[in-house]
Amino acid sequence: MENTAPGNATGLHGQVVGTIVTSLAEATQLDPGTIGEGSTLFDELGLDSTTVLGLLMAIEEELGIEFETDSLEQHHFESVGTLAAFVEVQVVEQVPDLAGA
């Protein structure tokens, strides 16, 4: 594989954002086309405490990672972008093959 580092970052970032958007669209029954990186999860997308666990498990299944649920904090859930940043770190730590693909 000849990808450059920035290219890898963009690829992983794009994959993580795509996974989050798809999972969010399923959890909230919104059109995925209306969800962007800047979308706030609770205020704009209407995510609530009853749907957040299902969202996390869908992301885990899709990316092959496991969250330490007790380490999740409010700021990770501000927006699609902040959640993606947190998830990317988990992917790099837990699935280095996927992160480097």
């Binding site: 209306t34 609770f42 205020d43 609530d48 405490s49 957040v52 299944e61 007790d70 859930f77």
Partner: protein, 469 residues
């Protein structure tokens, strides 16, 4: 006796005891401390709004009572309630409202309020909370006021979903097939049974023993998700001291309707059935109630019988006070009389005065009500006077009228950015909730009014925040 007097009789033995009410909603979060269940992920503005549900206590209180609140209510809202004929209590606002805190925590941090509660206690008043945890016990002990409730330990024990299932089993009451888990071995056993249910093509539901309001409930439709959940829970249980668990696993059953009924257990062990309402839920989250519930006399009679038996057992286990029970009607009209027992005040408890005043025997035949919460999106706080203007003729503002009777205004602006925040933050859209009861002369009119109120409130959000989808 009205409900306020019956409540006082049940809690203190006398209908004229002065109560100090405390609306510590979602007391389950306190009971859940030290228990391992589903991961608790309460983010967003939910908790700051829930903490302002304290204002519901206004209509549970009578003139001789007091209510501890996180802030003094909007004066126009108080005038509105008084114009409707409600006898309002004395109001004891805390010195400092921390939006993230329960009203009990704010009260504990207010020495002047503690002194005032002590004076009321010395005069014979008793503290009555939405539900009793160690925090409310501490508040009563610190202030020197009697707590009109059993111990926090008793309240916690009888509010576990494990207790509900075991009691209903012991009394031979019909339930969905299910399993209780209080340790990892029990969890693995329950999940093995759940796999068989999934293999037969039926979903299962995993419930936290102290979940509330749709939180801590996970619907599982495939084995892969069940395995993931099992890993997540066992990992958390392994990390927690003692590895103690509190979960219930049940087969998902079909239903035609959700019900909520309430009875009151007196200190003397007497049980009184209060009412039954048809619950409206959306994706498992409680959205309100329809009054009257669409039930046959036989169904109501069955619920009264179950109330008597549950109440007797709860009394034997040391509980007295309000008990709300969630139930279901199956697609064939049969009842699941116990889905869960909530031995604390319920949303319905706070509507009793409204029911007595506007929906009871004095109401015209056909009068129907829908207890609702409307989501709001605002960019600036909405005082009650402005809300009144927005609702206009849709506001219930006189006995015999129709429209929305607002019974909590604090939740509207609970999540507004603090005025001390920078100017750009104060324009940030925030979520709010408007709670009320839509009262109408017929079910058709009620549905139409509900739709119109929803549209008018949604338009308010569009006007105030055109840049937000």
């Amino acid at each position: 006796m009205d409900f306020n007097e019956r409540l006082k009789s049940a809690l203190t033995g006398a209908p004229d005891t002065s109560l100090v009410l405390l609306g510590n909603f979602e007391v389950e979060d306190q009971w859940a401390r030290g228990e391992t269940g589903l991961p608790r992920l309460a983010f967003g503005s939910d908790s700051v709004i829930v903490n302002r549900m304290d204002e519901f206590a206004l209509l549970l209180a009578g003139k001789s009572d007091h209510v501890v609140l996180k802030t003094a209510p909007d004066s126009d809202f108080l005038a509105y309630l008084e114009d409707l004929g409600f006898d309002l209590p004395g109001i004891l606002p805390v010195a400092r409202n921390d939006p993230r805190n329960l009203v009990t925590e704010d009260a504990l941090a207010d020495p002047a309020l503690l002194t005032e509660l002590g004076v009321l206690g010395a005069e014979g008043a008793a503290l009555s909370a939405h539900g009793v945890s160690e925090l409310e016990e501490r508040l009563a002990a610190t202030a020197g006021i009697a707590l009109a409730a059993p111990s926090a330990a008793t309240c916690k024990a009888v509010n576990s979903k494990i207790y509900s299932r075991r009691l209903a089993d012991a009394l031979g009451i019909r339930q969905a097939r299910g399993w209780t888990c209080d340790d990892v071995a029990g969890l693995e056993e329950a999940f093995t049974a759940a796999r068989a249910v999934l293999a037969a093509g039926r979903p299962v539901v995993v419930k936290d023993a102290y979940g509330v309001s749709g939180k801590g409930i996970e619907l599982v439709e495939g084995e892969r998700r069940l395995d993931r959940l099992l890993r997540m829970i066992t990992k958390r249980a392994g990390q927690a001291a003692g590895g103690r668990l509190g979960l219930v696993v049940e087969e998902w059953v079909g239903k035609r309707a959700d019900l909520n009924y309430q009875f009151t257990v007196g200190r003397d062990g007497g049980v009184r059935f209060d009412f039954v309402k048809e619950a409206l839920t959306e994706r498992g989250v409680h959205k309100g109630h329809r009054i009257p519930a669409r039930l046959t006399e036989r169904q109501v009679s069955e619920l009264k019988d179950v109330s008597g038996r549950l109440g007797e057992s709860l009394a034997a286990d040391g509980y007295y006070g309000v008990v709300g029970v969630d139930a279901m009607v199956d697609p064939d009209g049969g009842l699941y009389p116990v889905v869960e027992i909530n031995a604390r005040n319920n949303m319905s408890t706070y509507q009793a005065a409204i029911q007595e005043a506007f929906l009871g025997e004095r109401a015209a035949a056909g009068t129907t009500a829908l207890v609702r919460q409307y989501p709001l999106r605002l960019t600036r706080p909405l005082p009650f006077g402005s809300l009144r203007d927005v609702l206009g003729d849709l506001l219930f503002d006189a006995p015999g009228g129709t429209g929305l009777l607002v019974n909590n205004h604090a939740t509207v602006n609970a999540a507004a950015p603090a005025s001390a925040e920078p100017a750009d933050a104060t324009d940030r859209p925030f979520a709010g909730r408007l709670y009320g009861v839509v009262i109408a002369p017929s079910a058709e009119r009620m549905t139409a009014l509900d739709g119109e109120i929803g549209r008018r409130l949604a338009a308010l959000g569009e006007r105030s925040s055109p840049d937000v989808a």
